[in-house]
């Protein structure tokens, strides 16, 4: 039999419960009077910092080209198998580009592995957390939705560089 004795015996006051109950009640009463921290969401938007992992996006350079070279490492590392990449050849210096880049936002778990593994700093986690869709098809984000100009992602890229 395991030793069932308490580490510390209760005192008489504790044993009659009532003072302890009153203490507990006073604690909740105190909290009822404290200021509230609730954010009134749709009117009041939460603006995350650089460390926030919102939906993953592809970085679009100022000249309109994507950084991504379609190496498929994000797709490989993705634990939820959310990313599908189809590479194709281009005449640009980088040789490869993603002909198709799809993230299934139903599968995505926002772990940020894709961003961590990316050799080109081409996929980063954005601050976008408003991701509602009404069908499975809508949840698959193609290049049209994923490409985001680099200047909008400065916070995150700076954050990443400071921790590399």
């Amino acid at each position: 039999m395991a030793d069932k004795r308490r580490k510390k015996d209760l005192t008489f006051l504790e044993r009659i419960y009532i003072p302890e109950i009153i203490k507990g009640l006073l604690l909740t009463l105190k909290n009822m009077l404290k200021p509230k921290f609730t954010m009134q969401y749709p009117e009041e938007k939460f603006i995350p910092g650089g460390s926030y992992r919102g939906r993953p996006v592809l970085v679009q350079e100022e000249n309109g080209e994507e950084r991504c070279v379609a190496c498929g490492l994000c797709s490989r590392v993705c634990p939820a198998l959310a990313i599908e990449v189809q590479a194709a050849e281009t005449q640009r210096e980088k040789e490869r580009y993603p002909e198709k880049f799809e993230i299934n936002m139903i599968r995505c778990i926002f772990c940020g592995f894709c961003e961590e593994v990316c050799p080109e700093e081409a996929i980063v986690m954005s601050k976008d957390y408003e991701l509602a869709f009404t069908s499975r098809e809508d949840a698959i984000y193609g290049k049209d939705k994923l490409l985001v100009p680099v200047h909008q992602l400065k916070d995150r890229i700076e954050f990443l560089r400071s921790y590399k």
Binding site: V69, A70, C71, G72, L73, S75, R76, L81, E84, A87, A88, E89, K94, E95, R96, E102, N104, I106, R107, P119, E120, R136, I140
Partner: protein, 562 residues
Amino acid sequence: MPKLVVDGKEIEFKQGQTIIEAAKEAGNTIPHFCWHPSLSVSGNCRVCLVEVEKMPKLVIACSTLAAEGMIVHTASEKALAARNAVMEFLLINHPLDCPICDEAGECKLQDYAYAHGVGESRFVEEKTHKDKRVPLGPNIMFDGDRCISCSRCIRFCDEIAGAPELTFVKRGDRVTIVTYPGRQLENPYAMNVVDICPVGALTNRDFRFKARVWDMSANKTICQGCSRGCNIELWVRNNEILRITPRQNDEVNSYWMCDHGRLNTFKFVNADDRVDGPYLRREGSLAKVGWDEAFAAAASELKQFNKNEIAFIGSAFASCEDNYMLREFALNVIGSRHIDFMRHSDSNFGDEILRKNDITPNTMGAELVGVTPAAGGLNFDGIINSINEGKIKALYLIEDDILSANPELENTLAKLNLFIVHSSNFNKTTTLADIVFPAAAYAEKNGTMVNFQGRIQRLMPAVATLEQDRSLDGMAMSRLDKFGTRFDRWAKGNKRDVRPTWKIILSLSAAAGYKLIRQAQANMAEDIFEIMSKKIDAFKGLDYDKIGEKGIMLKIDVAEKA
């Protein structure tokens, strides 16, 4: 046999073997780039350096002959230090572009860098730059930066393909590979250099950037390009075949295969013109119908003819099982004696290396299972003549586009009252057919084929169909196949409504009111083979397990059959 000690383990070797060969046979693969078991030794990559006791310096395992009593250390401190140093040298000028390199995932340099590299470079100077994206030939792209100058490709062209087309030029860190002036890398075996290139310097232009190797599954089967039956692997992603690579089988194709087989024998499986479900001719055009309807229609149509008015044409493109079932159907259900198949031969195709003039994979098999005229039956030419004469009014053809092979047959086939065709794709022949059954392509079924040597080899499925599931039917599974659901686009790959010919014939005979196979229920190609192994002498005692992945020689007199 003489013995030497490698890493503390005593192993036997044959006189004349090098250390690397002896060690490999004993299951200890010493790292190597330039050495290839079927090429000559060049010894220029230096990564196979090993320490041999009583030798003053390290030696390269690939060109040092094994000797009695030799004590070799492949992983001693000294050997490892040397290997790490060699890796560092090789990586000095090798670009860090694994992310965009097709070889990534099956790259020797990557593997050894992972195992032996120091992890970072001490080289601060600029790497050398050579020509990138050089098309060496119609199918091969060369990237000079990535080349580690192992010379495997040069030796392959010289020694195996017998077509010296490549050479080194320049020296030192500027050395690079070019074709001889005025020549291209375009011999019929050229694309093997892509497989043997230990890095991503030589890439397959047909497959370039199509898929990462880790997203595909490799499915073992045999090539359909000619009667050699080279052992191959079909690389499949999302139920689509993306490339073919040869699979080692010293009895058949060694490590190689020809470019024709590699490029032209898989695209029809993925093509859009696949027959997807049975088709019946209605008011002049083919219309898709259900299986039961098609079987009922075929059975009742066949009953309208006298048994001597029906002829059967098997196929050297179909498996032994398919041909055997056709024969059983012709002889036992219909009672026709007119059965044969069309021979396809191309005298320009064959050569002394792998390619054979017989461009069908299973001529020998079709003959062995008896797709030849029964006593008093007509052969192929006889059938054609009889059709012209109006004696034969119905033709049952499996898996062969006879019209494309011989366009003169068009008027003949047009005379038929009933023309039933099993075909994987719509082609010229199906345009004349009255009933088209969708036959599974070679990559979609189990089966056996017999090559020109009389070697029986297995076809194994690589592509899922509506009735054949990837995991349940034992096909190779990539990570995507394992975890994909029907809601994932990358797992939704086109599954076609096709069935192997033997199965279609079995259902058709049931629809005609005849139970073709009385023994066990035949659910698998293996069951058909079991029946064949009892009835056909050449297959006696064989089963799929005995044939295995590399095939087995039949005890027949090949010369007599050929």
